[in-house]
């Protein structure tokens, strides 16, 4: 009995596989690029494919540079990027007959957080730079208690670190005494447990056990990030070759739609509206 059952299951699976093979590859889209944008692209692709059977979207990471390079080579339909395209890249693309068009799909904001027991309310970008390069090591410099600053950072290969390093540190080298943590959650955990700690996390990780400081006088929120007022933020892009048509246009429209922007928010980024 059980033998017959498992035989039937195998046959059914085979049948499904063969059928889906027939349907598949009708309409396909290749996306590559930034690992920051990857979760958005991945999720959007999954949902889009669920809604539109027969469409096949493959999404790869590899970094913004790799994505744009692949677009220039004509190897992909969409390049994800956490930065704007460089002039050098535009020139190379035009030479290949490719005309990159940027689509802003989301905003990425990073909140600076301290322990709720810390009385400091506000820091400037300059202060952050001094803290993260190890020039200032005590909270009393910023009107807090006489307490050593425990600098918490993301490990240097993360996208979050990249933005923070670009905007707050201006590319200067991070102080070696900084505690490097491997995830947003780990940073949040250490800051919540350590009175003198300062760290930075994506907006999605803000909670009661963390206190977000104002940076240059602006408190981090979806609204201030979307409007560009909050300084530690950047737009995320998808680049296409020329104005998108066909499936590429449908997919970009989906990402920019209400449903798509909800996915953006679910992944911890700031939606455009």
């Amino acid at each position: 009995m059980s033998k017959i059952n498992s035989f039937a299951v195998v046959m059914a699976l085979l049948l499904v596989a063969v059928m889906s093979l027939g349907v598949m590859a009708e309409d396909s889209l290749v996306i590559q690029g930034s690992s920051t944008v990857l979760p958005i692209a991945q999720k959007a692709a999954e949902v889009y494919m669920e809604k539109n059977p027969g469409v096949n979207i493959s999404v790869r990471g590899g970094g913004s540079g790799n994505g744009i390079a692949a677009l220039i080579d004509g190897a992909v339909d969409i390049a994800d990027s956490s930065r704007f395209i460089k002039e050098k890249e535009v020139n190379a693309a035009v030479k290949n007959g490719i005309f990159p068009v940027p689509h802003r799909i989301a905003m990425d904001g990073i909140a600076v957080v301290i322990n709720p027991a810390n009385s400091v309310e506000e820091l400037s970008l300059e202060d952050l730079k001094n803290i993260y390069t190890g020039k200032v090591t005590n909270w009393k410099e910023f009107g807090g208690k006489d307490m050593e600053i425990v600098v918490v950072s993301r490990d240097s290969s993360s996208g979050t670190f990249e933005v923070f390093n670009d905007i707050a540190l201006g590319g200067e080298r991070l102080f070696q005494g900084a505690l490097l943590q491997a995830s947003n959650g780990a940073v949040a955990g250490v800051v919540a447990d350590t009175e003198g700690a300062i760290g930075y996390v994506g907006l999605g990780y803000l909670s009661e056990s963390l206190k977000a400081v104002k940076v240059n006088g602006v408190a981090p929120s979806n609204a201030t990030v979307a409007s560009g007022e909050f300084p530690i933020a950047r737009p995320l892009f998808m680049f296409t070759d020329g104005w998108p048509e066909g499936l590429t246009a449908k997919f970009i429209n989906f990402v920019l739609s209400k449903d798509g922007q909800k996915l953006v928010k679910d992944q911890g980024f700031v939606p455009l509206y």
Binding site: G62, V150, F161, Q176, A178, V190, D193, G196
Partner: protein, 295 residues
């Protein structure tokens, strides 16, 4: 049907394949490690890679010096042994010589159970229970530091050290002990002058294997050591051992980049260190076997 001779052959060859598969896996690992990691030694220079301290793998220009990370691994491992060796050897002596046999059969498996606890649980314990205590005790800004990592790794290395040391002490022939007692030696003298020296190379094996456990441990140090790539000049400061660096950074390092190769380079160094440990442990083990067999 097959005759018995062919059957025999098939079975023999199948077993041969399985027997050698571990060696095959090891060879595969070595090939991959060197294939992916060796180019960084050529780019940076092996001396500069190992003995300079600026680990800035994603900057431009990048820094690929693992000295601080290497030193952190070594310091934390030695510190772990400072905790684990006295506790481990004393437990082993007590279990093998003083504890009645019926208790031994309960106590030893219990200690060995410590080895089966997943390392992430040790990490949680260190992070949430031990580190606040250490922070309080020394009045530190953070309890995630080298000392906390040393204590946790010491606890994790204990079962290896206790179990293997106990085996070594028990393996000392009863005739040695009887001879010492017959000559008028007290139990303490017998233990310190006869049993321990005889078992010493076995205990050394236990300690080296415990060190291997400590230096290769990843999850616990990632969670409790703090993660600052400072030179470990003060054990009350955060450090970042090699294993934690690989675990934290490999996920987002672009495949084939210098950073990726440098992480494999660290893995090569780590692999060579544990290989040396294993060779020494094996040498000590051979010596011990000779000693107790009475040569």
């Amino acid at each position: 049907m097959l005759n018995w001779k062919t059957k025999e052959k098939v079975i023999k060859n199948t077993l041969l394949f399985f027997a050698f598969s571990s060696i095959l896996f090891l060879a595969g690992i070595i090939v991959v490690l060197f294939n992916e990691g060796a180019p960084i030694f050529a780019k940076v220079g092996i001396f500069k890679f190992m003995f300079t301290g600026d680990w800035y793998p994603t900057y431009d220009p990048a820094g690929f010096g693992i000295y601080n990370l290497l030193a952190a691994s070594i310091v934390v491992t030695i510190g772990a042994m400072v905790f684990a060796v006295p506790f481990g050897v004393a437990s082993a002596v007590y279990i093998s010589y003083i504890l009645p046999k019926r208790f031994k059969n309960i106590v030893k498996p219990t200690i060995e159970m410590l080895a089966g606890v997943p390392s992430v649980i040790y990490g949680l314990f260190g992070m949430k229970i031990l580190s606040p205590y250490i922070k309080e005790l020394f009045g530190l800004p953070t309890g995630l530091n080298a000392l906390t990592a040393m204590i946790m790794l010491g606890i994790m290395a204990l079962p290896t050290i206790v179990s293997l040391s106990e085996d070594a002490i028990t393996a000392v022939p009863k005739s040695f002990r009887d001879a010492s007692l017959a000559l008028g030696g007290t139990r303490l003298e017998t233990m310190v002058r006869v049993i321990l020296p005889t078992a010493s190379s076995g205990i050394v094996t236990a300690i080296i294997l415990g060190m291997g456990r400590a230096i290769g441990e990843t999850m616990t140090v990632l969670m409790v050591a703090g993660g600052a790539s400072l030179f470990p000049s003060n054990i009350l400061k955060p450090v970042r051992p090699m294993t934690a660096t690989i675990a934290a950074e490999m996920g987002e390092a672009p495949v084939g980049s210098d950073h990726y190769q440098a992480l494999f380079g660290i893995a090569i160094i780590l692999f060579i260190i544990t290989l040396i440990f294993n060779i020494f442990a094996d040498m000590a083990q051979q010596r011990f076997k000779k000693k107790v067999s009475g040569e």
